[in-house]
């Protein structure tokens, strides 16, 4: 599961707070009984806790100075940053699609699913923006993109839909489309549809959209050096799991539609 915090170096709780490493020398007595029973009896408690780093299989275990950080600071890779920035925009469109639903669909199952997608992707947009901000990374490297980057990532609740539509066009014109994103024409068609026609366009559109997100995750992990950040790793796993599951549900809805 993901943490919205960054796992970097820790300054506190280091050597000064730990007991001295003297305990290391008095490390436990040998445990001769290495059968299934855990031979705790023969293991003496050292004077203080020890910090160790095992070697690769077959190699010796090293003793480390207490408090040695287990995760030195590492800047996120370019691919990580591009992924998060792109996914913010990607999610923005999914949320926009769900805001169209209440006035256009009467399908309770679909409305429920839309609610779930809306909650998930709105939360996740906030999460991704915090991930960037926590690492001192702007939403965009280009000052000219200021307006759009902020817009696509913002909370859509309470926004006028016609303004959203305009924004979407602008976004599509000025930023490269992420995989699976609906074209301005597709978004227009969705806005104009109601009832079963809307439902159908929503399902096919959202499946396309989610499928694109999955390809973005796949692409990220096919990139050397990417995804080393545990928070990002967990987040992408969840995006993958959640959207895969939603695609499946939507396929079943499509199938029911045909019946």
């Amino acid at each position: 599961m993901p943490l919205s915090t960054y796992h970097g170096p820790s300054k506190s709780g280091r050597a000064s707070k730990m007991r001295s490493g003297l305990g290391l020398a008095s490390a436990a007595l040998f445990c001769l009984s290495v059968t299934a029973g855990f031979c705790q009896q023969t293991t003496a408690t050292p004077e203080g806790p020890v910090t160790v780093q095992p070697g690769a299989p077959g190699q010796q275990t090293k003793v480390l100075p207490p408090g040695t950080p287990a995760a030195p600071f590492r800047s996120p890779s370019d691919a990580d940053i591009a992924f998060m920035r792109g996914m913010i925009m990607h999610h923005g469109q999914a949320v926009e699609m769900t805001t169209l639903m209440p006035s256009r669909s009467h399908n309770q199952d679909l409305l429920e699913l839309g609610k779930r997608i809306s909650i998930s992707q709105t939360d996740e947009m906030g999460f991704m923006k915090r991930w960037l901000a926590d690492r001192g990374i702007p939403l965009s490297d280009k000052p000219a993109m200021d307006h759009m980057a902020g817009m696509t990532g913002m909370d859509h609740s309470g926004m006028d839909h016609s303004k959203m539509a305009g924004m979407d066009h602008m976004a599509m014109d000025s930023m490269p489309a992420m995989p699976g994103m609906l074209t301005p024409q597709q978004m227009d068609a969705l806005r104009k549809a109601t009832g079963p026609e809307f439902d159908h366009l929503f399902l096919t559109g959202m499946i396309q959209h989610h499928t694109g997100a999955l390809s973005m995750v796949k692409q990220l992990f096919d990139t050397p050096g990417a995804g080393q950040d545990p928070v990002l790793f967990d987040f992408t796993s969840d995006v993958d799991n959640t959207q895969q599951a939603e695609i499946d549900i939507m396929r079943h809805m499509l199938a029911k539609e045909k019946q």
């Binding site: 599961m1 910090t51 299989p57 287990a70 993109m145 396309q208 019946q259």
Partner: protein, 655 residues
């Protein structure tokens, strides 16, 4: 403090109490997705008067609310894994900084403070607690639960660090992209001399064809990820004979890494133990690990399976993958991805499946069963042959986003699954989040078939600053009842009774305010809360190890707690669920008596007579009462009461 859980009097709460939910459909061992929608109970959300609402935030000084649970001690994460207290204090003292302006150079602005390596799952052996972490493992001596002592910090990154222990062997799951065979902390960044990909690599991926729902994701033309001989994704096995100097014996590599693993001890096999590995990471390239492919149509695909590792106890260095059972397959057609396929769903409905693997598996060897929480499904497996598990049943549920973990009731008649909606990093216990989303789903289990009975969710509304959803828990071994202690991340710990699978209810809780203060967000919370030999040990991801103790309350008596405390385990890996057997003594008997008194199955006069007879060991009288109990059981109001009467009669007639 005591909070009356029964005071659910507001109109809104009452309405919710009777809010029933659309429920799940069953996918048989076969495939059909039934469209039946029975309604089941969903426990009600509590109101704003719940003491868990509005608690003050803070890493170590957050406000606390509890009922029926006492915090004995919290031990912060040790140095190598510790939060950066100075940076946190500085960040909290300053106004929340605006996000870096677009166009600003990267990494120049203030960074969010580190809360250290994330604590994950727990395992127990004798007097030791093994606390998994994304960056390693910590070993604690818990001989005195009020004064637990760190013994060894093992630095060895590669999340999630799910841990199990068996004798002198310690197992650790690795799935993250930074896991190295040598436990190095440098990760596997781009190799020197290699050109990192440009920042817009993703933007060059062409969009998928509009409207083509069944089209697989478009792939960019790009060089494959270079194989790394230093990488581990799979299971590390350590020798912990010397508790202060664990040695890595072998790393068993798997195609999708190990998100979790489950230790399986086959009662018929004294020479080996097994690990069921659930992997959800992207499939590794064949160049890095021979035979790995993530292509859905490849018969050897690493999708749609789990991995079985066999560990010879005398020669753990020979541990290896012995099977990748196709537990999602259709036994008739041999189709490996069968759970979401079916004749009724139309063409082209199934190029992608939600059930591509499991998230976690709980084995209950005494019954020869395992419960798989498998992304899009909950599945039941026959594990009488551990290397070749066979699917007995599979369920799906429209309210479930992600099947996460499972616990059996001790009698095997109830099975509880959790839904980790949002993956654990999101706040999903807000007042606006439905009570049957991100909840437990409780199923009745009969003759290998599962039927949904109810949903349970930690009932207190949490803030948007607290990541919260159903997570890991274990049984509290009170005889005569099914009680689960469960983690809800920053929603805290909730203890609930699901003896009546159709009406679960909360009996105790412990919760802190958010880790972040003043609207700052920080992830964390309880990952696992497990009962072990009288205490509840909690793995708080940011704050450290919590030791909690259940207190007597109107929902739980001291006699019941004493009966639970008799259950002493030499080793506990919660997903290798032990069958609990209580001693046939008066301590156990008194727990049953309290339960029968609570449900009014016994009159106060009978309760008094029984207790007096036990106090004075009047065997003749007890035999007479036993006979009448056996008789009364046939007219008991609930099956649970009938079972308690028989169990009680059994004890007192022997004494």
């Amino acid at each position: 403090m005591i909070f009356s859980l029964a005071s659910l009097s507001s109109r809104r709460t009452l309405q919710r109490a009777f809010a029933f939910s659309l429920c799940c459909s069953t996918l048989g061992a076969g495939v059909a997705l039934a469209q039946t929608a029975p309604t089941v109970f969903v426990n009600p959300r509590t109101g704003a008067d719940d003491p868990r609402v509005g608690l003050k935030g803070g890493l170590y000084d957050a406000g606390v609310a509890s009922s029926g649970l006492e915090l004995v001690v919290t031990t912060p994460k040790p140095g190598s894994f510790a939060p950066d207290l100075e940076a946190i204090a500085a960040a909290n003292a300053a106004p929340v900084p605006p996000p870096p302006a677009p166009g600003a150079p990267r990494g120049t602005g203030p960074r969010g403070p580190s809360y250290g390596g994330t604590n994950s799952d727990l395992a127990f052996s004798g007097k030791y607690l093994f606390s998994g972490n994304y960056l390693g493992i910590n070993f604690y001596d818990i001989s005195d639960p009020a004064k637990i002592k760190l013994v060894t910090s093992v630095v060895c990154p590669g999340g999630q660090g799910d841990v199990s222990v068996y004798g002198h062997l310690l197992f650790m799951s690795v799935e993250a992209a930074n896991g190295r065979l040598d436990c190095g902390t440098q990760g596997l960044p781009v190799a020197p001399g290699q050109t990192p990909p440009s920042a817009d690599v993703l933007a060059n991926v062409p969009p998928t064809v509009p409207g083509a729902a069944a089209t697989p994701p478009a792939r960019a033309q790009r060089p494959p990820d270079p194989a790394s001989p230093d990488r581990i994704k799979g299971v590390r096995i350590f020798d912990i004979s010397d508790i202060t100097k664990p040695k890595q014996i072998v790393d068993v590599q798997t195609c999708r890494g190990s998100h979790t693993h489950t230790l399986l001890v086959d009662p018929k096999d004294k020479d080996n133990v097994y690990l069921y590995v659930s992997g959800s990471a992207p499939v590794r390239a064949g160049e890095e690990l021979n035979g790995c492919t993530g292509k859905e149509d490849d018969p050897n695909t690493a999708l749609f399976t789990i991995v079985v590792i066999k560990v010879p106890i005398a020669h753990p260095e020979l541990a290896k993958v012995v099977n990748s059972p196709r537990i999602f397959s259709d036994p008739q057609t041999g189709e490996i991805n069968a759970l979401w396929k079916g004749g009724n769903h139309g063409e082209g409905t199934q190029t992608t499946s939600a059930t591509r693997g499991c998230h976690d598996i709980t084995v209950f060897s005494s019954l020869g069963l395992a419960a798989g929480a498998c992304s899009g499904n909950g599945i039941l497996l026959d594990i009488s042959d551990p290397v070749h598990p066979k699917r007995l049943d599979a369920v799906t549920d429209p309210n479930y986003a992600f099947w996460h973990s499972a616990n059996f009731a001790n009698d095997g008649k109830t099975l509880l699954f959790t839904d980790e909606w949002g993956g654990g990093g999101q706040a999903r216990c807000r007042d606006s989040d439905p009570m049957n989303w991100g909840a437990d789903a409780i199923f009745k289990l009969d003759k290998g078939k599962l039927t949904l009975a109810s949903y349970y969710k930690m009932p207190a509304p949490q803030s948007e600053f607290e990541n919260c959803v159903a997570h890991n828990g274990s049984l509290v071994p009170v005889p005569g009842r099914n009680i689960l202690v469960q983690s809800w991340y920053q929603g805290g710990v909730s203890v609930m009774d699901f003896t009546d699978a159709t009406h679960p209810y909360e009996i105790a809780f412990f919760d802190r305010g958010p880790i972040g203060v003043g609207g700052r967000r920080a992830g964390g919370g309880q990952w696992s809360s497990y009962y072990y030999n009288g205490y509840i040990f909690g793995s708080e991801m940011a704050r450290g190890i919590d030791v909690l103790k259940l207190l007597p309350s109107k929902y739980l008596t001291q006699n019941e707690l004493d009966a639970a405390a008799q259950v002493h385990l030499a080793e506990l890996n919660v997903q290798n669920q032990p069958k609990i057997v209580w001693p046939q003594n008066f301590i156990t008997a008194r727990a049953y008596i309290d339960q029968l008194a609570r449900s009014n199955a016994l009159t106060p006069e009978k309760v008094t007579a029984l207790n007096a007879a036990i106090d004075k060991k009047k065997t003749k009288e007890l035999k007479v009462i036993a006979t009448s109990l056996d008789k009364d059981a046939s007219t008991a109001a609930t099956p649970a009461d009938a079972d308690r009467m028989h169990a009680l009669a059994e004890i007192i007639k022997q004494k």
